[in-house]
């Protein structure tokens, strides 16, 4: 190769404009989010595999297990079970945003990109905000495709469009909150591989010990309070209500009776705690 001879390539160039506070944060976050969205569009297999798991769950749960799971007040049939199931699948799917954020940030750490970002005069939190915003877009896309698949196999909403959109908003809020957990994991582990498994492993007990896939009343008595008070169950219950997919009466447990409020508050709480921890960790990260 040859490097062209240069004139005036070194010092003394354009004076960068000054943005401050929120405007700077939003600008920098957008630049990073756009970068992550471009990456996603160029590694479509990540998006495709992110879709395959929930689609498979929809098909396996509704056709294989649907007939065996009895919904209180409705009996057991796969066409009824799919109504019950979808809120749970949607909610579980959005929590998988954890894995995207943790693997992505861990990769940026090991590839030296985080050091590059940290050496630039940009808002400290923007690398993480940009990442979680891109994950939010991916989550929204996944939900859309998943809803279409579910519709094809018989899932229907039984209330208005506004209620359904509210349910999707709750799901996106939950997914966004969880991607901050992923951010902290990604900053804490040393390799993208570790980040992927550390990001996913605890999600299985969290999402299965809940009302997502089976009625809590079918669980052993000691497990029922845990499932009801699992904040994840609140989002599932809230969506079930808003989609009009609730079959029979809502369980008596307090979080189930106040599902929308509990869902919003717990998502906001997770987001506040984990974004604070992540940004703190990012500032002091030693790459």
């Amino acid at each position: 190769m040859t490097v062209n001879t240069a004139t005036e390539h070194a010092i003394g160039g354009a004076v960068p404009r000054q943005r401050r506070g929120l405007a700077a944060m939003m600008h920098d976050s957008w630049v990073v989010a756009r970068r992550n969205l471009r990456r996603m569009s160029r590694i479509p297999e990540i998006v495709v595999f992110g879709l395959m798991q929930p689609v498979m769950f929809v098909l396996l749960f509704s056709y294989v297990m649907g007939g065996a799971i009895r919904i209180p007040g409705a009996g057991s049939s796969s066409s009824i079970y799919i109504q019950f199931l979808m809120a749970g699948i949607f909610a579980q799917t959005v929590t998988f945003a954890v894995a995207g954020a943790s693997a992505g940030i861990a990769e940026d750490m090991t590839k030296g990109l985080v050091d590059r970002f940290r050496s630039l005069p940009m808002t400290r939190s923007a690398v993480l905000v940009g990442r979680t915003l891109a994950d939010l877009c991916q989550t929204a896309f996944t939900l859309l495709v998943l809803a279409l698949v579910a519709f094809a196999v018989g899932w229907r909403i039984h209330k208005g469009v506004a209620e359904a959109l509210a349910a999707f908003a709750l799901l996106l809020l939950l997914g966004y909150a969880f991607s901050w957990i992923g951010a902290l994991i990604g900053l804490s582990v040393r390799s993208p591989e570790a980040a992927t498994s550390a990001g996913l492993i605890w999600l299985f007990p969290l999402t299965f010990i809940s009302n997502a896939f089976v009625p809590v009343s079918s669980m052993p008595g000691w497990l029922q309070p845990i499932a009801y008070w699992n904040p994840f169950s609140a989002t599932v219950q809230a969506c079930r209500d808003l989609f009009g997919n609730q079959i029979g009466p809502v369980a008596d447990a307090w979080p189930m009776q106040h599902a929308i409020g509990v869902s919003i508050v717990s998502s906001l709480l997770v987001m506040a705690v984990f974004s604070w921890l992540s940004v703190r960790k990012y500032r002091s990260a030693v790459g």
């Binding site: 190769m1 062209n4 600008h27 990109l113 590059r116 940290r118 940009m122």
Partner: protein, 323 residues
């Protein structure tokens, strides 16, 4: 004028390891300081402190007159950093990588775009501009990484082992770029394991080992510090060694050393080329046939070896071209 980079007594410990054990250095504006040392000597840690990536336990530092610990964000807009692994996003194109960095330096989108074009041109990446960096060779990635450090034409640059793992051709090309930058007034702190690199690029060299600067000076000063030049003679036959040593003794300023199997005699001399000529005449007059003769000046390798008691790369090996 204050130095463009100044560090005083930097200390940084990681657990039991004192990565920096009181590093002080200064780089006058427009000059190049080569930080020379083996892996783990504290070179990268020094760069991380000076580029605001790492807070030292104690000590202070300024870059372009700005306090690194008090005003890190101001420092960040005055520096360019290029690391030993090419920190570019491999799923973005070359153009997108440079534009992103420009925008994060707070340039307007239009300026960032124009600057990206200029840099791609300068680094001969125009043809590859719209390919993802994943498809680039190691040398191209390293050029893109260096280009990213130049987006705002920073007055002070930090290059952390910029050519580690590059083949000689790409290394030479990067050296030329770095020399251009310095001609245009950039102050540069360069870390390297390659003595040749420090010798060629740096005005001043600081040798670092175990978190300390153990020697400081120009390449010539450091070489002079460990003694002067030597004459090395390879005689044609082993039987000639004894006679040759006898003949050479009066020209040596120390004890000649002999390597029997290579038939090489090395002796310290003073007087340079004139001594060499005298030695050749002397050997000729005694009909001692030689295969090779030369005047050897100490290299920075010799300097490093004598200062630290170990070679630069011997223990650690060399990191290869990364994937």
């Amino acid at each position: 004028m204050p130095p463009a980079i100044q560090a005083e007594n930097l200390v940084k410990t990681f657990g039991d390891v004192r990565a920096l054990d009181g590093v002080s250095l200064d780089v006058p504006e427009g000059t190049v300081l080569g930080l020379l040392g083996p892996n783990g000597a504290g070179k990268t840690t020094t760069v991380k402190v000076l580029t605001t990536l790492l807070r030292p336990d104690s000590g202070r530092a300024t870059v372009a007159g700005v306090d690194v610990l008090k005003h890190p964000n101001q420092v960040r807009s005055l520096i360019g950093l290029s690391g030993q692994y090419a920190a570019v996003d491999e799923y973005l194109t070359g153009r997108e990588n440079l534009q992103m960095v420009g925008e994060l330096y707070q340039m307007s989108a239009r300026d960032a775009k124009a600057r990206a074009l200029e840099l791609l041109e300068w680094f001969s990446l125009t043809e590859a501009a719209d390919r993802t960096a994943k498809t680039y060779s190691g040398g191209m990635r390293r050029r893109l990484d260096l280009a990213a450090a130049l987006v705002v034409r920073p007055p002070v640059m930090f290059l952390d082992e910029p050519t580690t793992g590059l083949d000689p051709r790409n290394r030479l090309a990067l050296w030329e770029v770095i020399e251009t930058l310095v001609e245009q007034g950039t102050t540069l702190l360069l870390t390297t394991q390659y003595l040749e690199e420090a010798d060629r690029l740096a005005h001043d060299i600081a040798v670092v080992d175990h978190g300390k600067v153990i020697a400081r000076g120009t390449a010539d000063q450091l070489k002079a510090q460990i003694g002067g030049e030597r004459v090395a003679v390879v005689v044609h036959e082993a039987e000639l060694i004894a006679t040759a040593v006898e003949a050479l003794k009066s020209y040596a300023v120390g004890e000649p050393s002999v390597e029997k199997n290579t038939r090489r005699i090395t002796m310290p001399v003073s007087g340079g080329a004139k001594v060499l000529a005298d030695v050749i005449r002397e050997l000729d007059s005694r009909d001692i046939e030689i295969d090779d003769i030369g005047l050897r000046r100490p290299t920075l390798d010799d300097v490093f070896l004598s200062l630290t008691g170990h070679a630069t790369l011997a223990e650690n090996g060399e990191s290869g071209e990364e994937a």
